[in-house]
Symmetry: none
Subunit: 207 residues, 4 copies
DNA sequence: AATGAATGAGTGTTCATTCAT
DNA sequence: AATGAATGAACACTCATTCAT
């Protein structure tokens, strides 16, 4: 029983991981069931056995991706740092997360192409980012109190700004590289961009 | 004869426009030939007659989209304005362009999902954004000379920053709205974002 | 132990009943194992556990249906009635049986579409209707002896005639209603048909 | 063009004929697209090219079957015969039609299993049998006027009676043969049944 | 006695594309 | 210049059934 159980879970997990890679690389419409199954060393049949449909599989992948992000956000500790350093740390965290999770970006690209139709259906994913907004709120308040940050900054807009600077660079690196004639994925440019981003946010927030 | 020629051109144009809408909304993989043909009041056969393949059609659409952007960029006049105002005007231009051309964002999303495979094949699209980088370069130089802007800012990174703030907000509005619990497409939030973006850039560039 | 046994029997019975409904409504080919299992509040696995295969299940259903009919036929008492009344009563019995057992008609329709392949395999169903033919034989003899019925009527053909008039009306009511523009299932038409049928048989048999 | 056109029509026709055989033998649910295509020496793809869906194909088959029946009914000439002979001729016609068109019976069996869902959707098949009812109406009137037939017979019920006697015998011959222990398809029994049927109708109608 | 996990072979349908005029 | 006919390969998904405990 235990073995069976573990095998089942393992199969489920392999399918989910394979699906995440495939969806991230090819988008929802471009991904193929049999390719996912093969990649997971399972069968297309099992995919439907566990996830019911392509939509169901995509939703499961999306939920898993968001849950991972949320977990990482929860583990982020910045409240013990001085405001300026905390802000830097937060920016670094967001940037690194995108950098280390390229599938996340591919997934979101595809989901936004479809106007978030899966996300909106997922009960599990209601109020997910709230924690990170709260975190930024508190950070801003601390910074203002310390005289470091200027007043009146909207934490949601601040979050969008930070996310935009990292996400866009990575998500659009292919067309940008072609069109700007600069290989954005080269380490020195990655490094440079991260520094510029941090500086941009710093300039905006600090007085 | 001339009429026949005109009809042919009209059909080509209708197909291209229909394809742009379809590709932008559904991505390359999600778009369907017969749906494009129907939307263009033409036939799938004509599509292949004029554009050879789905890839060829997508490339044509992409080229057309970039050409439109380039045209708009060329028509942008900011060299007569004082540096600070010119920068604001540039930011406004980028933001408005994305806002007024949602298909452009859909197209780029899909193309980046595919790692720019069409763009890289298109001879026509080499050195496309160069003009806008030159423009920013000159603007930065003018601003530094006038004592308004700080020195050492990379025009490419500045362009990416400005583009990121507008593009990400619009491209990811669907997942962000779901996850932040804020309807990003509402006029007041669009307005607020544009102002924050301009302020972010201003803070970064001016000394 | 006894309880367990009873549960098992109950599950078997629920599966059989669900299968009968499903097969009758959708035919053999159209019926789905999982739908039957769900309808029986059991699992597809149990279905195979108890009945071995879809064919086995259909055969069981068919046997059950014929056994029910046979039982009803055995309980039919007409030998104490005068011949004419007995004939009427027999017609009434056949008509009512079809009317009260629509699944029986659906089942037979499907089985005949398949040229009775299940029925021919079922050992249990050999010489099943014999009793009813015997019954008619005796009735005819009595009627002839009494001077009520004409001589030389084949009991098998008489049975087919009586069955045809009821079965066809009900089994083909859907296409007939569409094509004749008369709702055959309406009570007044059902009633009228039963009277016509009885009259048709009476005219044929009596001298 | 003409050749192409003729080929297209030929392909359509081959598919339709193959489908009719397959649907009649296996029912709607049991019929397989690829089997139909193979039987028509065409491809499954062409089937969808011409008929859109399995439902569309079935509907086309059904329409074709009813149209054939209607054509045959229109060609039936009985108004020049004396009433009794005309009635006999009509019975003979119905019986022969069923006998010569076993696919018609298979098709109707399947369609009735599905409660005529295709028939009800078909605009083309509204008021189809009307002519035959009119024919019977006139015949009954003639017979009554001639003093041959009794009064008050409903032509619709008469039609159902005649149809039932032929249809049921052929449609249910498989289960009946198994259960009655008589091979109904044997020529002598077919012949006998036809005579009994005609006699049954005659007895009912004539005074 | 009972059942969750697994599966090979289809199932209806659609895909992008080419043939032949 | 333009188009109806045709197609092979794939598509998401389901079928009846068996394995292994």
């Amino acid at each position: 029983m235990a073995t069976r159980r573990r095998d089942a879970d393992a199969t489920r997990a392999r399918l989910l991981r394979a699906a995440m890679q495939e969806f991230a690389r090819l988008g929802y419409a471009g991904a193929r069931g049999d390719s996912i199954a093969r990649r997971a060393h399972s069968s297309e049949r099992m995919l439907y056995y566990y996830y019911g449909s392509k939509d169901g599989l995509f939703r499961a992948v999306l939920e898993s991706a968001y849950l991972s992000l949320q977990k990482a956000e929860r583990e982020l500790r910045i409240d013990h740092l001085p405001p300026r350093e905390a802000l830097d740390e937060f920016c670094r965290f967001v940037w690194r997360y995108y950098l280390d999770h390229p599938e996340f970006i591919g997934l979101l690209n595809s989901e936004n192409l479809q106007q978030a139709r899966h996300l909106r259906k997922s009960a599990q994913l209601a109020e997910l980012v709230a924690p990170v907004i709260t975190l930024l709120s508190q950070l801003l308040a601390r910074g203002v109190a310390a005289g470091d940050f200027r007043d009146g900054i909207d934490p949601v807009e601040l979050y969008i700004t930070i996310a935009a600077l990292g996400y866009f660079y990575l998500s659009n690196q292919y067309t940008l590289s072609a069109v700007l004639g600069r290989e954005l994925r080269d380490p020195q440019h990655l490094q440079a961009h991260w520094q510029v981003s941090a500086e941009v946010v710093r300039c905006y927030v600090t007085r």
